[in-house]
Each structure stands twice: as C-alpha cells, then as structure tokens.
C-alpha cells in the first residue's frame, strides 16, 4: 500500500503538472480539492483519466468520484480493492 501511495503521488504530480511539488509535500490523508492541493474540476477529470489509463479503472458515478478522489489514500484504496481480481 505504501508503495502504491508513493507511486500515485508521482503520477498525480506528472498528470497535473504540479512541477513545484514533490511527493513528500503531498499529505496522503489530506483532501485533494479546495484545501490540500487546491485542485479544481479539470484536475478531477484528469485524475479520472489517470485511473482509467494507468489502472484500467472507471469511476461510475459522481458520488463514487467524490469518495475515490477525496485523497491519495482513498485513490490507493480504490485501486487496491478493484485489483483484487
């Protein structure tokens, strides 16, 4: 899980062009939107694309999206649960 969180942080930085940010600056428990990284709606779409492109996972509803994209930890949990096979 720790490795996945680290990898996700790196992928988020690349996907969202957060070039002034380093993985260690991202609190995996903090909200990604408004507070925390201060991401916006376009970033949310970009994270949705990231999950589909890198992990083959689709977010089905906006409610699910809110839960999954809450933090790096919630994204990692979503990946872990859906990759159990």
């Amino acid at each position: 899980m720790e490795q996945l969180v680290q990898k996700l942080k790196e992928e988020i930085i690349t996907a969202l062009n957060l070039s002034e940010m380093k993985p260690e600056n991202i609190d995996e428990k903090a909200p990604l939107f408004v507070d925390g990284l201060g991401l916006d709606s376009i970033d949310a779409l970009e994270l949705t694309v990231l999950l589909e492109k890198k992990y083959g996972l689709k977010i089905k509803t906006s409610e699910e999206g809110k839960k999954v994209l809450f933090s790096v930890n919630s994204m990692a949990e979503f990946i872990r649960e859906n990759n159990r096979g």
Binding site: L18, I42, L45, V49, E52
Partner: protein, 212 residues
C-alpha cells in the same frame, strides 16, 4: 466623444528575450519556448502554480502581461470593468489543438486529456490574464494572418470613444511549434497618467511591434 490615448508601456517576448519599454530585461541563450517560459517565470519572482498547467499560448500571454503590468497598480487605478483586453494572432490555438489531436489519434490509446482540451481555444489566454488581474471588461481575441495595427487601433479606439474602457491591454500573442512572439501594449487615456511611451496611433503601434 473622441478620446486621445497613449501607449503607457509595452512588453515584447521573442527569440528567448523579454523587452519592457524598449529595455532588455531578460535573455536566455538556449532552450525551447517551454524551457524559456519556465526560466522567465522564475525570473519574474511570482508564485502562481497554475502557470505550470497552462498551455504554451497562455504561458506566453500570461508572462508577457505579468511584466507589462508589474508595478502599474492597475487594480488600484481602474475598476475591473474599466479594463479591456484585445488580442490577436495568426495560429489561434493550433499548437495545443495538435497536442489534443495526439491524445485521441490512436483508437487503442484513446485518452483525451481534459487539461489539454480546455486550452483548445485562443481566448483562454484572455481568461487567464483576467483571472490573475481581476479584469472584467471587454475581451476579444482576433485571428489575422499578420499583425494588423490599423485594426487594433480602430477596435481599441472604439472602446475608448464609447466609454467602454478606461484602460486596455492589447497586442499580439502567437505561438506555433518553435515559433513564438508576443507584443503587448498598455493603453490609457491622456491625462490619466503622467508619462507615456508614444501616442496610441497605427504608426507607433507598428513601430513598436517591429522593434528588435
């Protein structure tokens, strides 16, 4: 009523150089535009993380406007609705349109990027400058094969003559592959400011545009 206006400042970016009011402020010997823009951003000393998310057209317009408007205290002198932005280029957003095309050209790797797609309109550069400087006045982006100083003069003069603006940022913001060039002018009414670079008239606009 016909208003007399002056060019109170201008800023040009081309050939890895930034020139403000005729003075060379920054030069970088090597690098493509993306690299040059990053260096300019660091040189500007501003902290605006959204800059890194912009496409190259927006980066060019944004960074040129940053230097043009630095220390001008525009928001203290004019209400947001009193300031307009009228821009022009020849390639529209083609540079980013191509990037977007690359994300959708392979049916097996079909992942259009929302953050690329949002920049597939040239007038987004006006939006980025307006957000940064809280400008709410007239905004228009025109496409023209070449810079048309007469058109710029006529259009911006109309805005002033009809009292739609008290201040206007206008000029050329063009990027297509490795070719880029921007020239932005700050136009104000005579009497609203103590000094200026030149009268706002087609010959002066053209002269500044062609300065090396």
């Amino acid at each position: 009523m016909r208003q007399t206006c002056i060019i109170t400042s201008f800023c040009a970016v081309r050939d890895n150089k930034l020139i403000l009011d005729g003075k060379l402020l920054y030069e970088s010997a090597t690098g493509d535009f993306t690299d040059f823009a990053s260096r300019l951003y660091k040189h500007s000393g501003i902290s605006y993380p959204k800059f890194h998310k912009m496409d190259n057209l927006c980066k060019l317009g944004f960074i040129t406007s940053e230097f043009l408007l630095k220390d001008k205290e525009l928001s203290g002198r004019y209400a947001g609705v009193e300031t307009g932005i009228i821009l022009m280029n020849s390639s529209s957003s083609l540079d980013t349109d191509r990037n977007h095309q690359n994300t959708i050209s392979d049916r097996n790797e079909y992942f259009p990027s929302p953050s690329v797609f949002v920049y597939t309109l040239p007038n987004v550069v006006i939006g980025e400058i307006c957000i940064r400087h809280k400008i709410y006045g007239e905004g228009n982006f025109f496409i023209s094969e070449k810079f048309n100083s007469l058109f710029v003069f006529d259009y911006v003069s109309q805005l002033f003559n009809n009292n739609l603006v008290e201040c206007c940022i206008t000029g050329w913001v063009e990027i297509n592959g490795s070719n880029y060039r921007s020239v932005l002018y700050l136009i104000e009414k005579t009497g609203k400011t103590e000094s200026g670079i030149a009268n706002f008239e087609p010959a002066e606009i053209e002269k500044i545009y062609n300065r090396k």
